[in-house]
Amino acid sequence: MTSLAVDRRATLVSRALAVMRLQLVTNLLPLAIPLVVLAGSFVINLMVFSASEQAQAEGNTGGVASIYFAQLVIAWVSVNQNFSFTVGLNATRRAFYLGSVAVMVLQSLAYGLVLFGLNILERVTGEWGIGLAFFNPAGLAADASPRTFLIFTVPLVFAAVLGVFLGAASKRYGTRGFILLSVAVFLVLGLVATLITYVDGWDAITGWLARQSLRAVLTGWLLVPTVLAGVGGWFVLRRAVP
């Protein structure tokens, strides 16, 4: 039965590729939405900075965060919309999940490159001539190093995978179950926070965080919840019914 096993591996890859292509079947607009959102945020910031000297003096803006939220929402909606159709037409959940995560990760890499390019352009143009450090959030991305690329990209991957996880959870548990689940998560987090307060643990935690640089958190530690969400999303989705 070895030939069958080989055959199946090829089929999983080909099915996941079909799922990826299927997500591009309508047009590229859904994939471009985070860029459109980012462009909107950028234009608003440009207007504010040209009008306000105070803003120029401060030079900083969190406007680039918009693309991360958009990425999360797009991944969520995409899983929610495509699961019933794709798995209903007999793609396996595994192929669907692999294909969906792959599309979102590739998209995150592409957006990371775009942000990286705009970051360079921003420095070349003297912060768009008006001191708007839009693509240099919190001064974290001040050079054209691979680290700058990672600073943009790793959180994008995280947002995408978290979105896939949320999409999987809303499919598996339905709207009501999903809301109950969210309430339960908040309760547990609240309980954990209470416990930490009870054992006077906050100093230790904030101390640990202070010892990590923000860069290390964004490029390194963020991969931990990313992997957790990615693996968790699969376990949630594998028993979902289309």
């Binding site: 292509r21 079947v25 919309q81 159709f85 793609a91 396996t92 028993r239």
Partner: protein
């Protein structure tokens, strides 16, 4: 044999949707999966295609377990009455998706079906009428040419002409590209000439698994003087009976051969075949909880 189902039971909390169902499906045959609403037909098809998992029992499709099996599911197409499409899909997008997902997809066939069913290619799917939505499902199911194709009540909202078109195209394409088709339907008489083998599910149990032609011969309607009909019915199973004054009408299950016909003639009992639909109705009429067919009427 491409499907083998053994002792499949499916429970949802306290509801038993399927109860020890077992059967096999042969290659290149059209099956009718019949039964009333809520009998368990959709659940059974979901289990065959790995979309649901049985609580107990085994399912083999193409010799393997279908759940999460890419090799098996790529050769299987399941068109549901309530097939969902992404919100931004137009008809043409669904066809492209079909071409991507089904290795045996025939694009030219799909396009000709779209024309015949008069489907507007650029219309958003969520703006299609119920009939058009069903037609789109039919197009995907037929053009997929999947070696195992399952249609779950594919005709909702389809007018008579479109249903006839579906049956005609299914038969014609089946003749050229034989495959196994499972058709779940309520419109039994419409598909009676189409299905070669009948499976009837009632309250989660498989109560008929028979060639259509043999099944037809097995159930008859006997009409005549009440005593005579009762005598004729004695060695057979009575599925349904009504007695009006001195005249009785019994629906009977059991082979009626030449000898039996001669006996019926001697007794003055008229023996007539029943339609497939009447047959299924008499087999599946009964209150919830009564697993056996109704034997008496007031």
């Amino acid at each position: 044999m491409i499907v083998a189902v053994k002792g499949v039971t499916k429970r949802f909390r306290d509801v038993v949707a399927l109860d020890g169902v077992g059967f096999t499906l042969r290659e290149n045959t059209i099956y009718g999966l019949l039964g009333r609403n809520g009998a368990g037909k959709t659940t059974l098809m979901q289990i065959l295609t790995g979309q649901q998992v049985a609580t107990a029992g085994t399912v083999e499709v193409f010799g393997e377990r279908p759940y999460e099996n890419d090799a098996v599911l790529a050769r299987t197409c399941f068109v549901r009455e309530a097939q969902r499409y992404p919100d931004d899909y137009r008809v043409k997008h669904a066809l492209r998706a079909g071409a991507l997902l089904f290795p045996h997809w025939d694009e030219a066939f799909a396009q000709s079906l779209v024309d015949e069913f008069r489907l507007p290619r650029s219309r958003a799917i969520k703006k299609l009428s119920r009939g058009m939505l069903s037609a789109l499902g039919v197009v995907i199911g037929l053009a997929s040419r999947a070696p195992l194709t399952l249609f779950d009540e594919p005709y909702l909202g389809l007018d008579a002409a479109a249903r006839q078109l579906f049956y005609d195209r299914l038969l014609a394409d089946y003749a050229e590209h034989p495959r196994t088709v499972v058709l779940s339907t309520h419109l039994i008489d419409e598909v009676a000439d189409l299905v070669e083998h009948v499976l009837v599910i009632d309250q989660g149990r498989l109560i008929v698994d028979e060639e259509t032609d043999r099944l037809r011969g097995q159930v008859v309607l006997a009409t005549g003087p009440a005593d005579a009909v009762r005598a004729f019915a004695a060695p057979r199973t009575v599925l349904h009976q009504t007695t009006v004054g001195p005249v009785a009408r019994f629906t009977l299950r059991g082979e009626v051969d030449a000898e039996a016909r001669a006996e019926a003639e001697r007794l003055g009992v008229t023996v007539a075949p029943v339609s497939l639909q009447q047959l299924v109705v008499s087999l599946t009429t009964g209150a919830a909880g009564s697993a056996t067919p109704k034997e008496t009427t007031p």
